[in-house]
């Protein structure tokens, strides 16, 4: 039996990179193949299930007239604006919550309370207060991600081992130095990991925001396509959201590996 075969069932044991990526690629290729077979076999009405070729054709049309790029550009801009705003506030607040018990008292119960309110329920209020412009969409993404992110950051800051903090004190670090030179750097890998995960939620909320009121963007185009029963466009745009998510995920992983070569990581 080859050694890699015996690795498969072993808990947390790494498998060869070639095997990993072959399996990963197959999870994309096989469903696509099944889709192609079903769509071209004539089992399902074209209205419900367009064929891969039709979706590809639609992609070319929309790419050529520029609409696709405009939509991607707008959605990406909204995601990054909303998410950056959430991260800029959630990171310092979360670190304070995880470090000082009193900051925890100030933020944690309130955050838990708001966190359970569905972000979409705020839409009417957002429209009432700030209208239906860009601010509304960015605010929507902020509400959807900030309250989750701040708790995750606090949890990360809390996992810094107390002995690591204490050893810094015995090396002469002041409280402020322990915060800036120990708690923050020790939290970085977990922080980036959580940013990566919450970025996915920002993608969900940008679509929600655009479904309501927008003139361009991926979510708006999906809504518009529904009106004209353009299933191929809907398929295309949903796939594009997936691809953008996957790409931003990979970019963040790369940045994290490049900037923090010291961090303990799982095998990929």
């Amino acid at each position: 039996m080859p050694t890699w075969l015996s690795q498969i069932g072993r808990i947390r044991a790494p498998v060869p990179a070639a095997l990993y990526w072959t399996v990963a690629a197959a999870t994309f290729v096989l469903p696509a193949l099944a889709w192609w077979l079903v769509a071209n076999g004539g089992y399902v009405d074209r209205l419900f299930l367009p064929s891969p070729a039709e979706v590809a054709k639609q992609a070319i049309v929309l790419a050529e007239n520029g609409r696709l790029w405009g939509d991607i550009g707008w959605s990406v801009y909204r995601v990054f604006a909303g998410f950056a705003l959430a991260a800029i506030i959630a990171i310092p607040v979360g670190i304070l919550m995880g470090t000082y018990h009193i900051a925890d008292a100030v933020f944690e119960p309130m955050t838990d309370f708001i966190r359970y309110m569905p972000a979409a329920a705020f839409i009417p209020l957002i429209m009432l207060y700030v209208g239906i412009g860009e601010t509304a969409k960015i605010l929507m993404i902020f509400i959807g991600t900030y309250f989750q992110l701040v708790l995750l950051v606090a949890a990360v800051a809390r996992t810094v081992p107390i002995d690591v903090i204490n050893v810094a004190y015995t090396l002469g670090a002041s409280r402020r130095q322990v915060l800036t030179n120990v708690v923050i750097p020790a939290s970085l890998p977990g922080l980036v990991e959580n940013l990566r995960i919450t970025l996915g939620w920002a993608w969900t909320y940008v679509i929600v925001a655009e479904l309501i009121a927008a003139q361009q963007g991926l979510g708006f185009r999906i809504m518009e396509a529904q009106r004209f029963l353009k299933t191929d466009t809907i398929f295309l745009y949903i796939a594009i959201i997936g691809i953008l998510g996957l790409a931003s995920d990979q970019i963040m992983r790369r940045i994290s590996a490049k900037t923090m070569p010291w961090a303990e990581t799982f095998h990929r």
């Binding site: 081992p161 002995d163 690591v164 204490n166 050893v167 810094a168 004190y169 015995t170 090396l171 002469g172 670090a173 002041s174 130095q177 030179n181 120990v182 750097p185 020790a186 970085l188 923090m260 070569p261 010291w262 961090a263 303990e264």
Partner: protein, 265 residues
């Protein structure tokens, strides 16, 4: 209580680098008060190696945390060079049982951490740190990150990091407790070696009698519930000591006597 007078009598007999006087510590949990330490007193003379041994749960780690200033005594004082200390400071460097290296810093940056906190310049502190990295024989791993090091190597870095700060007293809380027996022996020899080269005063916590005998000049035996130093025991074994010392007759006799006492506490 006249602390100053007590400290004076202590310093009259020998130069006490570290004085622990009448330390008591009680914890309240679920309405009950538990006395973890009661009236712990001892002196560690300048340049000497003092070990505290005791069964697990006797409060020896609590005691060390109080000496380090990381925990507060209910009563009693800790003094370094006759000056009372209540909060942690660079005069009492510490090596923990758990791995406490900063993972984002290389070996030499870890060792230089204390120097950086005190504002020493980049070049100067690297040079100073390198001396201690060499001292613990990790010259080949100067720029490695902690994740690339074995457990024994990590503890050697932790030791170098504490020493680089030139603490008045080095506190060690079962620093080799998490290591396998072979690595542990190497670490003990290394520590003896380091002590032969650098002037240092050490307060060492362990539950390993052999380790305590090999390394120490004085052993304080702690009794539990409430924790207190029940006996003090002088080790007269000659220097230099090494792993061979453990099989000498004098060592075996010392160990036998110590075990007898240890049974009674």
């Amino acid at each position: 209580m006249n602390i100053a007078a007590k400290l004076d009598t202590a310093t009259a007999t020998s130069v006490a680098k570290l004085s622990v006087r009448d330390i008591s510590r009680s914890f309240s949990t679920r309405g009950k008060t538990v006395e973890a330490l009661k009236g712990v007193s001892f002196d560690v003379p300048s340049g000497s190696f003092y070990s505290i041994i005791g069964h697990s749960g006797c409060g020896k780690s609590t005691l060390l945390n109080i000496v380090a200033g990381l925990d507060q005594a209910t009563s009693g004082v800790v003094a370094v060079d006759g000056v009372v200390r209540r909060s942690p400071g660079p005069d009492r460097g510490m090596v923990f049982q758990s791995y406490t290296l900063f993972p984002w810093l290389s070996v030499v940056e870890n060792v230089a951490f204390g120097l950086r906190m005190s504002g020493m310049g980049k070049k100067e502190r690297r040079e100073a740190a390198l001396h201690y990295v060499e001292l613990v024989k990790l010259g080949a791993f100067v720029d490695a990150y902690p994740k690339e090091l074995s457990g024994g190597m990590r503890q050697r870095v932790a030791m170098a990091r504490a020493l680089a700060n030139k603490p008045a007293v080095l506190l060690m809380d079962e620093p080799f407790g998490a290591l396998d027996s072979e690595t542990r022996e190497q670490m003990q020899e290394l520590l003896l070696n380091v002590r032969a080269k650098e002037f240092m005063t050490v307060l060492f916590i362990t539950h390993d009698i052999e380790e305590a005998i090999l390394l120490s000049e004085t052993i304080g035996i702690m009794a539990a519930r409430p924790g207190r130093v029940a006996h003090e025991f002088k080790i007269d074994l000659p220097y230099p000591r090494d792993a061979e010392t453990k099989i000498s007759d004098a060592f075996v006799q010392t160990k036998r006597r110590l075990i007898e006492i240890f049974k009674t506490v």
